[in-house]
C-alpha cells in the first residue's frame, strides 16, 4: 500500500521515467534522468517529489538525495520561472562577468543563489558555458545570450518583460 503522505507522480512523469527504465539494466540507473524529468514538470525537486521518485525506482530516499544534491542542476529548493545560469569562469571573468552580475543583481534585486520577489528569475553561477569566443555569456532558461553588456542586458530583460505583458 502506498503511503498517503507521498504524492503520486503524474502519468506523464511515470511514462517518461519508464521510457528510460526500458533501456537501463536496473531501475536505479535512471535516477538522474528521473530527477530531471520530474524537475522539468515541477520546476524543482521537493522532499515529497524525491520520495515519490525513490519509491518508483525502488531506492531509499536518502540514497536518491545523495545523488540529487551532488548535481548543481538538480534543484532541491524552489527556483523562479526562469533560471539564469551566468558563466563566471575565466574568459567571461576577463571580459567582465563580475560587472554583468552586478548589473543583473541591481536590476532583479537578487544575488547569486537567490530568486526575485516576483518569482520570475533565479540567478546562479555556472561552469564555463563553452562559448568563450562570445564572452561574456549566460543561459536564461534554454536560451544562450552572448556578448553581454549593459545594452544587451537591457534588451534581454525588457523584451522578456514585454513578452509577459
Amino acid at each position: 500500500m502506498q503511503s498517503p503522505l507521498i504524492p503520486n507522480l503524474s502519468d506523464q512523469e511515470i511514462s517518461a521515467i519508464d521510457n528510460e527504465i526500458a533501456h537501463a539494466p536496473c531501475r536505479a540507473a535512471v535516477a538522474i534522468d528521473a530527477l530531471k524529468i520530474v524537475q522539468s514538470h515541477r520546476g524543482w525537486v521537493s522532499d515529497a517529489s524525491l520520495q515519490a521518485i525513490a519509491r518508483h525506482l525502488h531506492m531509499s530516499a536518502a540514497e536518491l538525495d545523495g545523488i540529487a544534491t551532488f548535481y548543481n542542476l538538480i534543484f532541491r529548493r524552489p527556483v523562479g520561472e526562469q533560471v539564469i545560469l551566468l558563466c563566471n569562469s575565466i574568459t567571461c571573468w576577463i571580459k567582465g562577468a563580475s560587472q554583468i552580475q552586478q548589473q543583473i543583481s541591481a536590476r532583479l534585486h537578487i544575488g547569486l543563489g537567490e530568486t526575485s520577489a516576483d518569482n520570475q528569475y533565479t540567478l546562479l553561477p555556472v561552469t564555463c558555458l563553452g562559448a568563450c569566443d562570445r564572452a561574456p555569456v549566460m543561459l536564461v532558461g534554454e536560451q544562450l545570450h552572448t556578448h553581454l553588456d549593459d545594452a544587451a542586458l537591457e534588451l534581454i530583460f525588457r523584451s522578456r518583460e514585454e513578452a509577459e505583458e
Binding site: 574568459t91 564555463c128 563553452g130
Partner: protein, 432 residues
C-alpha cells in the same frame, strides 16, 4: 594551397546544422560504407593505430592503443559500450560545441565506426545539460539514422547492430573525468573510480567501455575513408591530423579554427585570432584550458602539438588558448581558476576537497590585499603536495595546480606587489 579541413568541411559560417541529406551529399557515411562488411574490426583498429590519432579531450592518449585494450576474441558474453564524452566544461574550451551543433552526423558516424571496431552494441553520448541545442540535434540525427539503417539492427545489411542513446547530464565539471562519467551514466554520484581496473576492461556496469572525446570521434570517419597515411600527412609535426584550436580573451577575433596539428602558436594568435585587442599587451596564455600551465610571449614560436607544448612545461590540453593581457591581474586570473576547481571538486579525497578551497582562500587574501609574505610559501607547498599525481584520487586537483605553479613562476613579482602594497595593482576585482 587550400588547407584540408575534414572536421569542419560541413561547418557553415552561420553555424546552421548540417542534416542527414546534406551530410550524405557531401560524402557523409562513406567511411561507414567502406568499413561495414568490407573491413573486419581488427583492420579498422590497425588503421586507427597507424594514423597516430591521439585523444582530443586533453590527455592526448593514443586512440588506437586505448581501443586495443578492449577484450575481443576472448571477451566474456555481454554488452560492450562506446561512450562519447560531450561534457565540454574545461574553462576556456568551446571546440566540441561547434562540432556538435554544426555537424552532428559526423560524430554519429565516428561513433558507429568506433563501436564497430571494438564490437560495442550500445553507445551513449554523454552531453552536458547546458548544450540544449546540441542534444536536440543529436536526438534528431539518431532518429534519422535509425530510419535510414545506419543505426539499429543489421546496419547497412551487415550482421552488426548498434543502439545509440543521448544522455543529458545534470551538471558538475568532474563528469568529464571518464570514470566519473561512467558512474554518472549509471545514475550515481560522479565520483571518479580507482584505476585499475581501467574502463576498457571494466567500465559501465562492469563491462568493457571506451570513452572518447567528441573531436576524437569526429576524426574517425575521415581516417577510415581516406587512410592513415593521409591523416599523418595533415600534421605539420610528429603529431598527426588537424586540430580544433581556439583563442579567447582580449584578442581581436576570438574563435575556433581547424588547422594542421603543430601550427605555430604565433600564427594561431596573430593570423586567426587577429592579435591582441588595441590597447592590450600579451603577458601570457594557458595553451589548452584552465588546467594547463601558463606559457609566455617567449613561447609564441612553438608548434602547438602535444610533445612540443609538453616539453615547454605545459600541456596542449584541449588546444583552446586563454589569453592573459596586461590589464588583467594575474593573481585574479589564477584565483578565478582556483575558485572554479574548488567549487567543482567532487569531495571524495581530502587533498582536493580541503586543499583547493585553502588555495583559493590564500589566493583571494592576496588578491584582496590581505596577503602575507609567508603565503607564497604556503602556495608553493600546496603546489608540491596537491599537484603531485598520486596524492589525489584523480587528476582534477593536480590540474588545478598547473596555472598556480606556473603563475608563481612567471608572475611572481605581481604576487609580491599585491603583498607588499597591500592591494591589487589592477584593482576592481582584478579586471582593468
Amino acid at each position: 594551397m587550400s588547407l584540408d579541413r575534414p572536421l569542419t568541411r560541413n561547418v557553415r559560417p552561420d553555424r546552421t546544422p548540417t542534416d542527414l541529406a546534406a551530410y550524405e551529399a557531401n560524402g557523409g557515411y562513406q567511411g561507414l560504407r567502406r568499413a561495414l562488411g568490407k573491413l573486419v574490426p581488427a583492420e579498422c583498429l590497425q588503421i586507427i593505430k597507424d594514423s597516430n590519432l591521439r585523444g582530443r579531450g586533453g590527455a592526448g592518449f593514443p586512440t588506437g592503443m586505448k581501443w586495443s585494450f578492449v577484450p575481443m576474441e576472448n571477451a566474456s558474453p555481454g554488452h560492450k559500450y562506446l561512450v562519447c564524452n560531450a561534457d565540454e566544461m574545461e574553462p576556456g574550451t568551446f571546440k566540441d560545441r561547434l562540432l556538435l551543433e554544426c555537424d552532428p552526423h559526423q560524430l554519429i558516424e565516428g561513433m558507429i565506426l568506433a563501436a564497430y571496431t571494438i564490437q560495442a552494441d550500445i553507445a551513449y553520448i554523454f552531453i552536458r545539460a547546458e548544450y540544449h541545442l546540441a542534444a536536440q540535434l543529436l536526438r534528431e540525427a539518431i532518429a534519422a539514422c535509425n530510419a535510414k539503417g545506419y543505426l539499429g539492427e543489421n546496419i547497412l545489411g551487415s550482421d552488426y547492430s548498434l543502439t545509440m542513446h543521448v544522455h543529458t547530464s545534470a551538471g558538475r565539471y568532474i563528469c568529464g573525468e571518464e570514470t566519473a562519467l561512467i558512474n554518472s551514466l549509471e545514475g550515481k554520484r560522479a565520483t571518479p573510480r580507482a584505476k585499475p581496473p581501467f574502463p576498457q576492461v571494466s567500465g559501465l556496469w562492469g563491462r568493457p567501455t571506451i570513452v572518447n572525446n567528441v573531436e576524437t570521434l569526429c576524426n574517425i570517419p575521415h581516417i577510415i575513408e581516406r587512410g592513415a597515411d593521409w591523416f599523418q600527412a595533415l600534421g605539420l609535426t610528429a603529431d598527426a591530423g588537424t586540430k580544433m584550436y581556439g583563442v579567447s580573451g582580449r584578442v581581436k577575433n576570438p574563435g575556433c579554427w581547424e588547422l594542421p596539428m603543430g601550427t605555430p602558436i604565433r600564427e594561431i594568435l596573430m593570423e586567426y585570432a587577429g592579435g591582441m585587442e588595441d590597447g592590450y599587451q600579451l603577458r601570457g596564455f594557458l595553451p589548452g584550458g584552465g588546467s594547463t600551465d601558463f606559457l609566455t610571449p617567449e613561447h609564441l614560436d612553438l608548434a602547438m602539438d602535444y610533445d612540443t607544448i609538453g616539453k615547454a612545461g605545459s600541456r596542449m590540453g584541449t588546444g583552446t588558448m586563454i589569453i592573459l593581457d596586461d590589464k588583467t591581474c594575474p593573481v585574479g586570473f589564477v584565483t578565478n581558476l582556483m575558485e572554479f576547481f574548488a567549487r567543482e571538486s567532487c569531495g571524495f579525497c581530502t587533498p582536493c576537497r580541503d586543499g583547493l578551497p585553502w588555495s583559493a582562500q590564500v589566493l583571494n587574501d592576496i588578491e584582496q590585499g590581505r596577503g602575507l609574505p609567508e603565503d607564497l610559501h604556503t602556495l608553493a607547498r600546496q603546489v608540491t603536495f596537491i599537484g603531485a599525481i598520486g596524492n589525489t584520487h584523480c587528476a582534477l586537483a593536480p590540474g588545478a595546480m598547473e596555472p598556480l605553479a606556473s603563475g608563481l613562476k612567471y608572475f611572481r613579482e605581481d604576487f609580491e606587489r599585491h603583498i607588499s602594497g597591500g592591494h591589487c595593482p589592477w584593482c576592481d576585482g582584478g579586471v582593468n
